[in-house]
Every structure is written in C-alpha cells, then in structure tokens.
Symmetry: C2
Subunit: 375 residues, 2 copies
C-alpha cells in the first residue's frame, strides 16, 4: 500500500471516524483506524461495540486531485497516533506500509514510522442490501434526535430505555425517549412507506449528530434486522439496534390538564436555571412551581445555603387557578432547551401527576415530566 494524500482531507476524515474509536475497548484492533486504498480512493473505518463510522475520500474533489495511488492495500493504525501525527504534519502526506505493517508517513523532511496491525484482523462491515430504505433531509433527522435523545436513560439496568425509539409508519417518523421519569416525543413527516419500530442507542445518535456532513445533505437511512445505517456521499454510520420491546408510550400522554398556562420559553428556562443553583442539594434537584394570583412562582431552597424565589408573568391561563408541584429542575432545563419555539404551553394534572410541556404552535413535539416528592 502506498499513496500520497492531501493533508486536510485525510485529517478531517480521521477526526470523523475517530468519533467511533474508544481507547477503552478490550479489543486492541479496535483502538486503531482501518485505512484502505484502492483505485477509487481511500476508505477509513473506526468502530466500537455500538457504532461503526466509514469515511470515503475520493481521488478528486472539486476538480482537485486529493490522492495519488501508487499501490493498493490496507492496514490498521493506532487512532491516537495517526490523528496527532497527521494534524501536526505541514503538508501533503506520503503514506506507505511494509510487509510487517509498519506505516511510514512522510511530509517534506519529516518521516514517522508507526507500528500498525494486520487489517485482516479488523472486523468486517455489516452487509446490507438496500432494505428498509428512507431518504430524508439530514437536518430533519438531526432535529428529531436533538429533541428526544437527551431524555433516554443513562442507567444500564433497563437497556431498552438507554435507546431512542424510532417508529416509522407511512409518511411519518415518531421518535421517543424516556428514562421512566420523563419522556420526550417528536413527530416528523417523511416520504416513505416503511413500517417498523427500532431502538437505537442514545450514544450512537449523539455521535451521529456530531457528523456535520450529514446535517447539510440528503441522507439515506437503512433499517436492517440488526443495524440502523445512515449514509451520505462520503460517510456511512452503522449503529447496532437495542433488542427488545419498547414500552407503549402513547397511553402515557395525559389528555386533559386541570391547569394550562402559556409562558415565554426563554424566560422560564432562565428562571429554572437560577432555581437549580439551590436545587443541587436535593437528590432530584427539586424546583417548586406554584401559581400566586396571576403569576407563576418558581422557588427552591437549600437549608444550609439559602433560597431563591421569583415570579414570572403568565401569558395566558386556562382552567383552575391553582398549582403546587415539585419537579426535577434538570429535567425541566433539558426539555426547555430542546424547544426552539418562543412560547410553551404547560398542562398540569395535579400535584402527583406528570406535567406536559408543548411548544405553542408546534404539535409535533412534547415533553412529559413526573413530579418529585418535596419532603
């Protein structure tokens, strides 16, 4: 294997595939990046037990030659050293591998040798043949993920809840995530006849939305029995699926609140942020909400340190002029940060019932948060 490659395009590809590489893996081969070159260009692959990211660098880009191939081949190079060395090189890179898998990378008068590994030991990519295909605008998938993934559980005790449920039905995608104390739900119109429901690890989706190339392109999704695959021209991400049945969530959403109020999203977020300063002392970051006259009161206290309370204008109110509930302030913050609309509607069913938060004028997104005990 021997080729000359433009530094910046290799560097960017390494940054992208490195997102899938962990130094903590029990398999030494997975601490490396698989680099292959053939007559079409260079392919880099990084992976861990959850995801695989594959990046293709073509010979030419925008009419400019990126790669000159002298001989084909492949090798696995330790990811950490490869990325550091390429970043610090001044110019085009001349890369070659000898029969002992020693990778020589040269740029001008700088020569480095890195001990690589045999690429035949690297796991094969999952095979897929175009089944379960949906084409969509990347930014739409990104929105859906950003509005839901944060709500998934961090606790491995119930693995299914550490994922995001994507449920495809004709022309509709519904995403949901819950840790059983809060739920985030988001709906998107799509053009597809696919009918299936899968659960994708939260971690995979968090890495997916770091691949900015996906956000700005039209992407192809493929749902196979074991994988969720996202593909653009130069990048492919494979995520394993979480096995098991996702809880039935449609039934959880309360249909009628006793008290409904409309608030300014950002003002409410800032108020909760301030209240959280004094809520950290509580196991559940208790922030208390109540209605006093025509206003919403937000309060929290930490006996040793102090307390905070503030009142905020309610834009409009419907139902009972009465409310007293304690919520986990971090859950409130997460939900509010996922809403880009200016106003929100909050529906309260009672002190021990979950609250429902919806953006005003956008019925495609909702957040449900269970109350916490305040004593």
């Amino acid at each position: 294997m021997e080729f000359i490659i433009n530094k910046e395009s290799l560097n960017q590809a390494i940054v992208d595939v490195s997102k899938a590489v962990s130094s903590k893996t029990p398999f030494p081969i997975l601490t490396g990046i698989k680099m292959s070159v053939d007559e079409n260009g260079v392919i880099l692959i990084g992976s861990n037990s959850d995801i695989i990211i594959e990046k293709y660098i073509p010979l030419m880009r925008d009419g400019k030659q990126m790669i000159q191939v002298q001989s084909e081949g492949s090798v696995v190079v330790p990811a950490k050293f490869l990325s550091e060395i390429v970043k610090k090189m001044p110019d085009d890179l001349h890369i070659k591998v000898n029969h002992k898998n020693v990778v020589t990378i040269q740029s001008r008068e700088i020569i480095t040798n890195i001990n690589g590994l045999n690429s035949e030991e690297y796991p094969n990519l999952p095979v897929f043949n175009g089944e379960g295909h949906i084409r969509m605008v990347g930014s739409k998938l990104f929105d859906t993920i950003k509005r839901t993934a944060f709500a998934a559980s961090q606790n491995e005790m119930k693995p299914i809840l550490t994922g995001v449920n994507m449920s495809f039905s004709p022309n509709k995608l519904v995403c949901a995530a819950t840790n059983s104390h809060r739920l985030a739900l988001c709906e998107q119109p799509i053009e597809s006849n696919l009918q299936c429901s899968v659960v994708i690890p939260r971690f995979s989706l968090n890495e997916l939305i770091k691949l900015s190339e996906f956000e700005s392109s039209v992407i192809d999704l493929y749902i196979t029995d074991n994988y969720f695959i996202v593909k653009s021209e130069a990048t492919t991400l494979y995520s394993r699926l979480i096995e098991g049945a996702y809880p039935h969530i449609a039934g959880l959403i309360p249909k009628d609140g006793k008290t409904k109020i409309i608030l300014n999203t950002n003002q409410f977020l800032q108020g909760i942020d301030r209240a959280c300063l004094f809520a950290n002392e509580w196991r559940n970051n208790n922030v208390h909400l109540s209605i006093e006259g025509e206003k919403l009161k937000i309060s929290s206290n930490a006996s040793e340190i102090g307390k905070i309370e503030e009142t905020q204008a309610i834009i409009s109110m419907d139902g009972l002029n009465e409310l007293s509930i304690s919520l986990d302030g971090r859950f409130l913050m997460d939900a509010l940060k996922a809403i880009s609309d200016e106003e929100i509607k909050i529906s309260f069913g009672g002190t021990m019932k979950p609250i429902l938060i919806e953006p005003v004028g956008n019925s495609a997104q909702l957040h449900l948060i269970s109350p916490v005990r305040s004593y």
Copy 2:
C-alpha cells in the same frame, strides 16, 4: 448594609476576586468573598493562603452611576453562590444584609437569600505604607512573568524553587525561575532605585497575569517584608513571599558553547511538538537532537509504537559541526513558547552540558535546559 449596584460591574469584580478563592481551604470563611460598602463604593476581597485580591467599585464610572448606597456595612458571602447568582440575574441588583448575616439579592421579581458569615471573622488585609515602591507599565511585568514563571518547580520539596526570583537593582529588574533541570531568565529596564531580591510563588504570578486590568495600566508595585503587592486604580493583589535564599544563578550560565546554531523559532517548536508525540513513553520525554551535514535532526522513538525523525534547515552555524544530545521535549516546548522573536540561537557545550537558548537580537531573555540520559 444595603445598596443597589449595576450587575455587570459587580459581576466583573466577583470574577476577578474569585481567582483568589479556593473551595478547598480549611477555613470556611475563606470560601467566601468579603463585600463591604461605604460612602466611597463597594470593596470585594477574596483570598487564600498565597494571595489576596481586592477590588474596588466606585459609585460613579464614566459619568454613570454604578452604586446607590442606602446603608454601609459588610458581610462575607459564599463565593460560588454569589458568583453564580449574580451572573444569572437579569438586571441591577438590590443587595441587603440583615442582623443574622442573611444576604438578600433582588433583581426585578427575583429574590434570593444566601446565608452569609460575619465579616469580622475575615482576616485583615496586610498593612503597608508605601515602602519599596516601583511604578511600571503593567505589560512589562506581564512579559517578564510569562517568560519565566513556567520554569519554576512544581515540587514542594524545595519550596524556594516553586517561586520566581525578582531581583531589583537600580533601573533593572531580573526575573529568574528554575526547577534545577531548566532555568528561565529575563531582564527588564525599569525606573527605580530599589535594591532588593524576593521570591514570589509561581501560583500567585499565574493568577496575577489573569487580571487583565493590570496589563493595560500603569501599576504600582510595593515590596514589603512579607508581601509583594501590585496595585492599579481599582485592583490590588497581595502575594506572600517565599522565605529563604534563592540559588545564585548567574554562575550557571555557560559562557562559551562549542557549537552555536541559529534556527527559526516556530519551525523548531513545531518539530519538537511532533517529536514529543513519541517521547511521552520516556520518563523525561526524551527528544534527541543531532547535526547531520548542514541540517539539524530531531528524533524520538517509542519502541512499542513507532518513531519519528525530521531534518530542519540551520540558518547559520558557528563552531564544531558535531552534536548529539537528548533533552526533555516538554522543557524545550515551554522555553520556545516563551520566546516571541522569530529566530533563536542555541549554544551546545557537549552531550552532558546544559544547552542555552536565546532569542536572536534580544539579549534580555535566556533559557537553560539540562540534557537527559538517553538510555
């Protein structure tokens, strides 16, 4: 105590004095910021065992009223909560303290109560009466610190070496720092007749150069028996001095090198940076320098991982065309980063002799680095 204060000016002052506050102190009173108000304005003080930072906010600034005083007084407020709360408040702050030291901070409809402490428990400021005075441009002091402080020891075994030696003689300030393996020295012309030598903790100077107000003003230095004091219009920093005699360093500087070369500073820095990637495996970050023909060769290797070598152009060479030395790559990087001149002169005395690095055309700064064993 009761006053109304402009949010931004209080916030900036808190940020500055917080630099001296540590949450790890054994004295609870020092986790707080002392806040005093009188007819002249507000004074904030933060301190730890090394430094004290005092910040004054006048009633008026640039013709704009900053503070309205209702009643004088003082209190100590937990630094962490004070800074977070003030940062998150939307507007002017109304601050008052009751007889139980509960501090009420109100901004619009937001009211917070923080349990404060009695300000009489807060240690008094050191007293000084203008002795040992030098006036200088702040940026000059900053340059001197940035060129030397990094070289001080991090090891508390020899406390004197954890400080920077400032030696004042008529119209001259010489700063030096060493950890006994490397030495940084910097000279500045000043207008003063002071004759004294003090050792200031490296930590204090690192905090000092974070106070940007000092850099852009004319500052007053005061050297007392126990303190190094820096004062601008609104800010005063007190640092304790380290007791003991600083090693005599003038004799350490080699007078004649066997080989002297001139290099491009930035190119050499980048080469050392690359070599350090493979040097981390060694206890002393071994980077090897040698002369091959007309060029300088930089190399390092980590047996398990790989190796790197590069050659760089030598701008000019004087003396023996022969060199082979191993140095700690981190020490080289630190020294090179402290030099802003385009070219450096390196003088080598032999494989086991320290090397001398000086900026070309700037005899006011030098760095000495001892070699390491390469086996």
